[in-house]
């Protein structure tokens, strides 16, 4: 099955990439945007989706500084 993993910086970790995007949007005319965070999307086809969290813990994310969310397709 097709699985998507969303990885984002942990809450509380300074996210200058997110901040840069947040600052750039008003300059393009988009107001009312806050709390922007930038992360990564990893897509996989797996036979056993129950193993995906372990993949996240061990490789796909760095649990010290990132949160991950597994989204079934």
């Amino acid at each position: 099955m097709r699985v998507r993993v969303l990885v984002r910086p942990k809450e509380g970790i300074l996210d200058p990439v997110g901040q840069a995007v947040e600052r750039a949007l008003p300059a393009l005319g988009f107001e009312g945007v806050a709390n922007v965070h930038v992360g990564r999307l990893i897509e996989l086809e797996v036979e056993d989706a129950s193993r995906v969290p372990e993949m996240c813990e061990r490789l796909l994310a760095n649990p010290l500084i990132e949160d991950y969310e597994v989204v079934g397709a």
Binding site: I13, L14, P16, A20, L59, L60, N62, L64, I65
Partner: protein, 214 residues
């Protein structure tokens, strides 16, 4: 002292590290696919973009065969020095606490900075005195150290006031593991060993390692 300098696909400063090590002892390159450390006494993991920095810096390198042997050496108390990308690899491998995050400026920064020796009681800084200032270059995009709960004595080097190039927590430039035999730092001591190309302060780290009984 025999140094082993690991080379991954995408390593950039392995030859520079090799030259620096050779000024203070013998040194050879260790290919990432080899599990055999060939009896070296100390391992240096150099700077660069191992595996293209894919996924996260150092995330893939830490699974290479050579890293199994390095982990074993570290477990046995052997000295392991991670420089820049090497620091990132050691953090990903769990051999050092913490992680390296993108520079606050979001830009690559190549600049000569000064670091202060906080802990001279390590195999890497024995040739230094506490408070010594070393002039060394940094060159990285992802060097902001994040190490919650790091013990004070684990901080080996700190950027001198005004010299922090990346927003590192508490101006931390280099740390050691609890056992004291593994160190990682973002600055490049291997680029500070030749008066023709820069300062020679970086040589003190290799000099210290060369003093480790083998």
């Amino acid at each position: 002292m025999r140094f082993g300098v690991v080379r991954f696909p995408g390593s950039c400063d392995e030859v520079d590290a090799l030259f620096a090590c050779r000024r203070f002892g013998e040194a050879e390159l260790l290919w990432h696919k080899d599990r055999d450390l060939r009896g070296v006494d100390a391992v240096v993991i150099p700077g660069g973009f191992s595996y293209g920095d894919y996924l996260r810096c150092g995330a893939i390198a830490r699974f290479s065969p050579v890293m199994e042997a390095v982990t074993e050496l570290a477990g046995d108390g052997g000295p392991v020095l991670g420089i820049c990308n090497g620091f990132q690899v050691l953090c990903e491998a769990g051999l050092l606490p913490g992680a390296l995050l993108p520079n606050v400026s979001l830009r690559f920064v190549c600049r000569q900075v000064e670091v202060v020796v906080e802990n001279p009681d390590t195999p890497f800084t024995r040739a230094c005195a506490r408070g010594d200032r070393l002039s060394v270059p940094v060159k990285h995009t992802t060097g902001r150290y994040h190490g919650p709960g790091l013990a004070a004595e684990q901080v080996v080097l700190r950027y001198a006031p005004g010299h922090n190039p990346n927003g590192s927590q508490d101006d931390i430039a280099g740390v050691r593991n609890p056992a004291g035999n593994v160190m990682g730092l973002m600055p490049h001591p291997e680029h500070a060993v030749d008066p023709l190309t820069g300062s020679v302060d970086g040589g003190r780290l290799f000099e210290s390692l060369a003093m480790v009984p083998v």
